[in-house]
Amino acid sequence: MATLTDPSGIAGTVKPRIVRQYNFAQTMPALVLILVFFVLPVFALLLRSVLEPQPGFGNYAELLGSTTYLKIFLNTFVVSALVTAVSLAIGFPVAWALAIMPSRLSSVVFAILLLSMWTNLLTRTYAWMVLLQRTGVINKSLMGLGLIDEPLPLVNNLVGVTIGMTYIMLPFIILPLYGVIRRIDPAILQAAALCGATRWQALTRILIPLAAPGMVSGALMVFVMSLGYFVTPALLGGTANMMLAELIAQFVQSLVNWGMGGAAALVLLVVTLTLYALQLRLFGPARMGGR
């Protein structure tokens, strides 16, 4: 009660008069933009899923009742889960190393991470299309080493998609995990050692549990982003191995079936928002990004 009334006690509580309405008005341009060009179109699209071609849940019945579409859902989940698992398995040791490396070394790795993240998505996907093709460097090298006789089919299938997406998602798991490990007090691990823990015990019983919130939160983020990815699966997966985002695009662009497009969009949206809500629930607001 006492501190409530003393402006010197709380930062920024000192406000001149008319501020409230004025501050709200400041958010108006952004609000109008988001409402008109984000909220409204998305709702309109979702609405079409229950209105077209005729009102009802026919689109959802068709979407969830057909093995073709179920296979696409399955593809999407399997690839996303694989990408998440591989990213986490590689990302944890890298984030760990980055957190304790001499800064000369780590700054080089950071520069590479950032460059990779900010390189155009198409450029990166294109690189993998070239690398993974039948006559690409990877098949040629493997054949040159005598490990295989025939070129492996690495592109136009889910293997290619998984490799390409892992490549794109790695920075998104390394950077937040780095932050989490960085904040762990090294003294805690010294204490573990003094308590008699071996390195392996210290890793599995102290370091990993302490980093676990970061791992789960990073994994959720990568999983959610992977679910809605469009460009990389479209280019590396080929038409036979469609993922959900491509399905939505196809309904709208090739089939001009807005009802089914809206229904598929809603499925993606519900899964994404549910997982995001889970993440918020578990770890509070975190930054997410995706394209």
Binding site: F24, A97, V109, Y126, G228, F230, L235
Partner: protein, 266 residues
């Protein structure tokens, strides 16, 4: 011990090898494309039989590539300006305001970041079909603004929250009109936030593919759309040349950002 690099023993080397391989995994494809853009092989054979600038010549000789690049640039600049301006004003409201629903509003502003872009792309495409904005510069700018704005708002609210409001009050008490105080004191003090908002907004628009594919028309397309449509036909090395140019722009912007950050610190 596990968080002390020098005392990790053999584990240190395991970690270093994994990190080194990962770094190579991340950087090599980009270098590989850059190398191929100078290679003479139409079929992207590596190592290239000989070196050439012909793909760059082809890129610059084709008005469609140049036009696409110019379109991308134009749109990205407009998006950057609008995104920073709208983001700045909104951030003042979000940070300084005390109105009901403020946190919900902030969350709403950030949702375009977490929503799968393909959903927004399809939704906007349908909406723009109705109001005739598909294939227009305005349509492109609006679509990219929706996804760039969250980055602006994040960067600027962050900077503004770290800015001591009393400093602005001090300027006002010194005799500066509240608006003058904002322009002469607050804006310079949060310039790092404005700058990263600008960089993020520019790169978001410049690199954006999904929305652009839906917004584009045969007469109006951005560089990523041009790359996309070309890629669907074949893997021509001209794309390698275009990609390398894009990487150079990205590196230049990253260096600029690092330099400005350094300059602001000293």
């Amino acid at each position: 011990m596990l968080l002390n690099f020098e005392r990790l023993g053999a584990w240190k080397w395991i970690l270093l090898v994994i990190t080194g391989l990962t770094a190579a995994f991340l950087i090599l494809p980009i270098l590989f494309i850059a190398a191929l853009s100078f290679g003479s092989s139409q079929w992207l054979i590596f190592p290239p039989p000989s070196w050439t600038l012909q793909w760059y010549t082809a890129f610059f000789a084709d008005p469609r590539w140049l036009e696409a690049a110019w379109t991308s640039f134009r749109i990205a600049v407009m998006v950057t300006v609008l995104s920073v301006l709208i983001g700045l004003v909104a951030s003042f409201g979000l940070v300084r305001g005390r109105f009901i629903g403020k946190e919900a509003l902030r969350a709403l502003f950030l949702t375009p970041m977490i929503l799968p872009v393909v959903v927004l792309a399809v939704a906007l495409y349908a909406f723009f079909l109705r109001i005739g904005l598909n294939g227009t510069t305005t349509g492109f700018v609006i679509a990219h603004l929706v996804v760039a704005l969250p980055f602006s708002i994040l960067s600027i609210t962050n900077a503004l929250e770290g800015f001591e409001k009393s400093i602005e009050d001090a300027a006002v008490l010194c005799g500066a009109h509240p608006l003058e105080a904002k322009i002469r004191v607050t804006l310079p003090a949060i310039s790092h936030g404005l700058f990263s908002a600008a960089i993020f907004s520019f790169l978001t628009s410049w690199d954006e593919v999904v929305l652009a594919i839906f917004m584009a028309s045969p007469t109006l397309q951005t560089l990523p759309v041009k790359i996309w449509t070309t890629l669907r036909q074949d893997l021509t090395p001209v794309i390698a040349a275009a990609s390398t140019l894009l990487v150079i722009v990205t590196i230049a912007l990253m260096l600029l950002a690092a330099l400005v950050r350094k300059g602001l610190k000293s």
